[in-house]
């Protein structure tokens, strides 16, 4: 019954225009033929071609992808473990310190996290490269994963696990066969979050990368500091497109699952009524 | 000398405080209120009763000013209130959810409306204290709504809506959130407060017992129309339709064909092999016209021997519902029809005579039931 009032419609329109116009402009101008990025000189996809021939960018993209896959996978395992410890392990010595170390990285300025990790790697004499970036990214993104997973675990009905134990499961089987499938959506979104955080990170990677590895954000950074460039516009458009396709697919899939569940429930009700 | 009964609706010279004139309210294709005309008088405790979706809440929200009629006019003391916004109406509402402001204390909640009127500080203090006394909440003034019980919250909501001396107080299912025992106590409290303050109350409820208990008049609604407006006893004893008879309390409904008899009685042929039922009509029925005979279970007597009565039917006890003070017997007649009869349990259980499968006689006088056209 409810409709948009003119005030709400206006504030939403202006608000979303503000959120999306800059990116839309970026996408449009990535197809600009001119090297002068602010002057429109006709449609062209030549900057995408240039981008694909630029080995430095391709190498950086490959490094970033490797780092993101590895660090988000480690972070998911560690973060899920940490979440179980937070929610289920009860009291143990040093629990306050533990939960402090989980929440602190969420609010820690990236410059400080980056600096401290760099000083550690130098202190123990670890050569900086892909490995150090993976270690750094795993550490800060496992905290995000554990927050996502623990919020799901808190609302998890523990009697399900007790039922599994009652029916003869070992605690580990109960976790693997009952708890894990149910919290799986949270674990998956934790992985996705860790993956994007890693893809996105500039500051921590800059501190921990060293000369032997360059990630895509670092490459973008060094070129945009000099100003707007058409190649970066093209690269940005590709990244925006990938994210948009990913998010829209994910939301369609989950919507379809929800619709299917509703349909099944209704069918079950009808069957019961009949 | 008996006191004059309070019945302004019977006085042709009385001016109603609220007058609905052919009011219709539509939401899109849905007609919530359908060409409705009704008067409510000062100091009345008026109940709008009906199933959910019958339009009673819409009617109330139009009085409060949250909805405007699609057609027709609503007069408050002769003034058309359609152009008056809710915050300018001398009408206050007690919400079903109570809608107590969670960030304000009990005291501040009650004072909220008074402050809006720009009342002097001392007057506000006095008025809030008076309301706290009236609703027995003095000791809870500083608490927040989540720190008091459901019954106390209900009284805060009442105090808040009464604080501004409204000409009309609207109560939307005011007791719906309370449990049964508390609800019964609160009903009497509400009547008491209504009498003390002399405010006109309009209550919306789907609970017929509640409406019967508190109201001076009850309006039974269905599908946006008012089916009957009358005092609780008139609604119960002389419903104007099978809908009202069925909605209020328990009833046996029997459909048959009318035949006029002498001395203003009517005979109803209703089932093969059963004697015709004799009743007293209040309106004209033609011979052969369909008639609905409605009789309350407590007006049907049950006995082992055939009694001397205008109507007597024989059957077998199918079910007994023992409710403590009364018992309801479901008696199956030879043709398979079931009639309910109710008796007061004046004696202890062990002394009672009827049990399952017993053959019994049901009887009632020729004035016990009501004859309805529809």
């Amino acid at each position: 019954m409810r409709r948009f009032s003119w005030f709400n419609a206006t504030s939403l329109t202006l608000g979303f225009a503000f959120l999306y116009l800059p990116m839309i402009i970026l996408v449009i101008y990535s197809f600009n033929a001119s090297k002068l990025v602010t002057v429109w000189a006709g449609f062209s996809t030549k900057w995408y071609g240039e981008l694909l021939r630029n080995d430095a960018f391709l190498d950086a993209a490959w490094v970033t992808l490797k780092v993101a896959v590895m660090s988000s996978s480690f972070a998911t395992v560690l973060g899920t473990m940490a979440a179980i410890v937070l929610v289920r392990a009860g009291r143990f010595y040093g629990r306050t310190l533990f939960s402090g170390m989980i929440y602190a990285p969420l609010v820690m300025p990236e410059v400080i996290t980056g600096l401290s990790l760099l000083l550690l790697f130098i202190g123990i004499g670890l050569d900086r490269g892909v490995l150090t970036i993976v270690l750094a990214h795993t550490t800060f993104s496992m905290c995000y994963v554990s927050v996502v997973v623990s919020s799901r675990l808190v609302s998890f009905d523990q009697s399900l696990e007790e039922a599994a134990l009652d029916l003869g499961c070992t605690p580990f089987q109960a976790f693997r066969l009952v708890t894990l499938p149910i919290i799986a959506p949270a674990v998956i979104s934790g992985w996705l979050l860790a993956f994007t955080l890693s893809l996105d990170d500039l500051v921590i990677a800059s501190f921990t990368a060293g000369p032997s590895a360059t990630t895509l954000p670092m490459k973008i950074w060094s070129s945009v500091r000099l100003g707007v460039s058409p190649e970066i516009n093209a690269l940005s458009t590709l990244m925006i497109a990938i994210v948009a396709v990913g998010v829209i697919t994910a939301s369609l899939v989950s919507k379809r699952a929800a619709v299917k569940q509703q349909k099944d429930e209704r069918a079950a009700e009808r069957a019961e009524a009949a | 000398m008996a006191l004059d009964a309070f019945a302004p609706w019977e006085d042709p010279n009385a001016d109603p405080i609220i007058h609905f004139q052919n009011v219709t309210k539509r939401f899109g294709d849905f007609t919530a209120i359908d060409d409705l005309t009704i008067d409510i008088y000062e100091k009345e405790f008026f109940a709008l009763l009906g199933p959910s979706g019958c339009g009673k809440t819409t009617l109330m929200r139009m009085l409060a000013g949250f909805e405007t009629p699609t057609e027709g006019t609503i007069l408050l003391q002769g003034q058309n209130i359609a152009p008056v916004p809710p915050n300018k109406r001398a009408v206050n509402m007690m919400f079903q959810s109570y809608a107590l402001f969670p960030h304000l204390s009990v005291w501040e909640n009650i004072a909220f409306g008074l402050k809006r009127d720009g009342m002097a500080k001392n007057d506000i203090n006095d008025r809030v204290d008076e309301m706290l006394r009236l609703t027995r909440l003095e000791t809870f003034a500083r608490r927040k709504p989540h720190q008091i019980s459901g019954g106390q919250r209900q009284r805060v909501a009442l105090a808040r809506s009464l604080a501004k001396h409204p000409k009309l107080l609207l109560l939307d299912e005011p007791l719906g959130a309370l449990d049964k025992k508390l609800r019964q106590e609160t009903q009497f409290e509400l009547m008491d407060i209504q009498e003390k303050t002399g405010t006109t109350f309009v209550i919306v409820t789907h609970d017929q017992e509640e409406a019967m208990t508190v109201a001076s008049r009850v309006a039974v609604m269905d599908h946006g129309k008012i089916i009957q407006v009358a005092t609780p006893d008139a609604i119960y004893e002389t419903p104007n339709s099978t809908y009202v008879a069925d909605f209020i309390g328990d009833v046996n409904l029997i459909e048959g064909k009318a035949t006029s008899k002498d001395n203003d009685k009517l005979s109803i042929a209703w089932a093969e092999g059963q004697p015709e039922i004799v009743g007293t009509p209040t309106t004209e029925f033609g011979n052969g016209q369909t008639v609905h005979f409605a009789i309350r279970p407590e007006k049907v007597a049950i006995s082992a021997e055939k009694p001397e009565a205008a109507n007597a039917l024989q059957g077998k006890i199918l079910d007994i519902a023992y409710l403590g003070n009364i018992s309801t017997y479901h008696v199956e007649l030879a043709g398979g029809q079931v009639i309910k009869a109710q008796t007061a349990n004046n004696r202890r259980l062990s002394r009672r005579t009827f049990t399952w499968e017993d053959n019994v006689w049901l009887s009632f006088t020729d004035t016990a039931g009501v004859l309805l056209e529809r």
């Binding site: 970026l26 560690l78 179980i84 300025p109 990236e110 270690l135 707007v228 | -």
Partner: protein
């Protein structure tokens, strides 16, 4: 036993890669810078045993912190970071509240979509979102082109490389952090409370101030901290959109480290930034705690 392993693995990981590095920062903040690798003294030499350790301790001092108080660059950087963080938090609140309000009052079937539209930018690169404003705000950028073609200005406005651009960048990138907590507070708001306020004599506007705003207070506070805390240490936005006059502590730290290679001073800057952040972080935690208690 299994429980112990479960606790130990993430615990040891965080100790080694979060707490220890942190202590190292503290330690280096107390060291002196040197032209060496690593570029600071003293370094801990465990081969000399206890004597080495005490010698190491005796060489630590607060010289770098003294240095920070003497050079007014650092003072100004901290103060200007605070100022920029406060102003941009207020601006984000002003921009974000109406959007959150509009979302919470939108028809039910629209809300999931609107929510997704607010969250979607989170998934796109932060760097790219900041970068997108460079083309808009530059002197020959799209904004100036638009304003000049409309005849509103004759000379291009200088926005890029000023604090104004930094404010725009911060409001833009942190807006979702403000919208989401306010939206979740407003969505829970029972509409009959507003009707009750009107019924008791409030106009729509006073009902908004007396009921809606107080009841969304928790969301406003949470959103403000979520913007304020990361903004204080922000590096990317002031570096890309701000000018040479834009002083922010994250940028100073970065330059101290990468350009001046003065690790001890960079560490001291980090320690002080952290001390400043402790207060808002504790306040934020308390607000969250209060909210949980109110709900539970």
């Amino acid at each position: 036993m299994r429980r112990l392993t479960l606790i130990a693995i993430p615990y040891v990981w965080l100790l080694a890669l979060f707490l220890v590095p942190f202590l190292i920062v503290f330690k280096i903040a107390l060291s002196d810078s040197a032209l060496a690798i690593p570029p600071y003294v003293p370094t801990l030499d465990l081969s000399e045993g206890w004597a080495g350790f005490t010698a190491f301790l005796s060489e630590l001092d607060f010289e770098n912190f003294v240095w920070l108080t003497e050079d007014d660059l650092y003072w100004k950087a901290y103060l200007s970071s605070l100022k920029i963080a406060v102003i941009s938090t207020v601006l984000t609140l002003i921009v974000g509240y109406p959007i959150a309000y509009g979302m919470a009052r939108a028809p039910q079937e629209w809300r999931a979509t609107l929510l997704m539209l607010v969250i979607l930018p989170f998934w796109t690169s932060f760097l790219i979102r900041v970068y997108s404003w460079m083309g808009i705000l530059s002197q020959e950028g799209y904004l100036n082109q638009l304003l000049m073609s409309l005849g509103l200005i004759s000379e291009p406005l200088i926005i890029l490389n000023t604090n104004t651009a930094v404010y725009i960048g911060i409001v833009y990138t942190y807006l979702p952090f403000m919208i989401l907590p306010i939206y979740s507070a407003l969505e829970k708001l029972d509409e009959s409370l507003l009707e009750a306020a009107e019924d008791l004599g409030c106009s729509r506007f006073t009902a908004f101030w007396l009921v809606t705003v107080p009841l969304s207070k928790q969301g406003i506070i949470a959103g403000s901290f979520l913007v304020f805390i990361p903004t204080l240490g922000e590096f990317v936005i002031p570096s890309l959109l701000g000018g040479s006059k834009t002083l922010m502590i994250g940028k100073v730290l970065w330059e101290e480290f990468f350009s001046n290679r003065d690790w001890p001073v960079a560490s001291a800057v980090a320690v002080i930034l952290l001390l400043i952040l402790v207060i808002p972080i504790i306040l934020f935690q308390r607000n969250e705690q209060k909210q949980r208690e109110a709900e539970g």
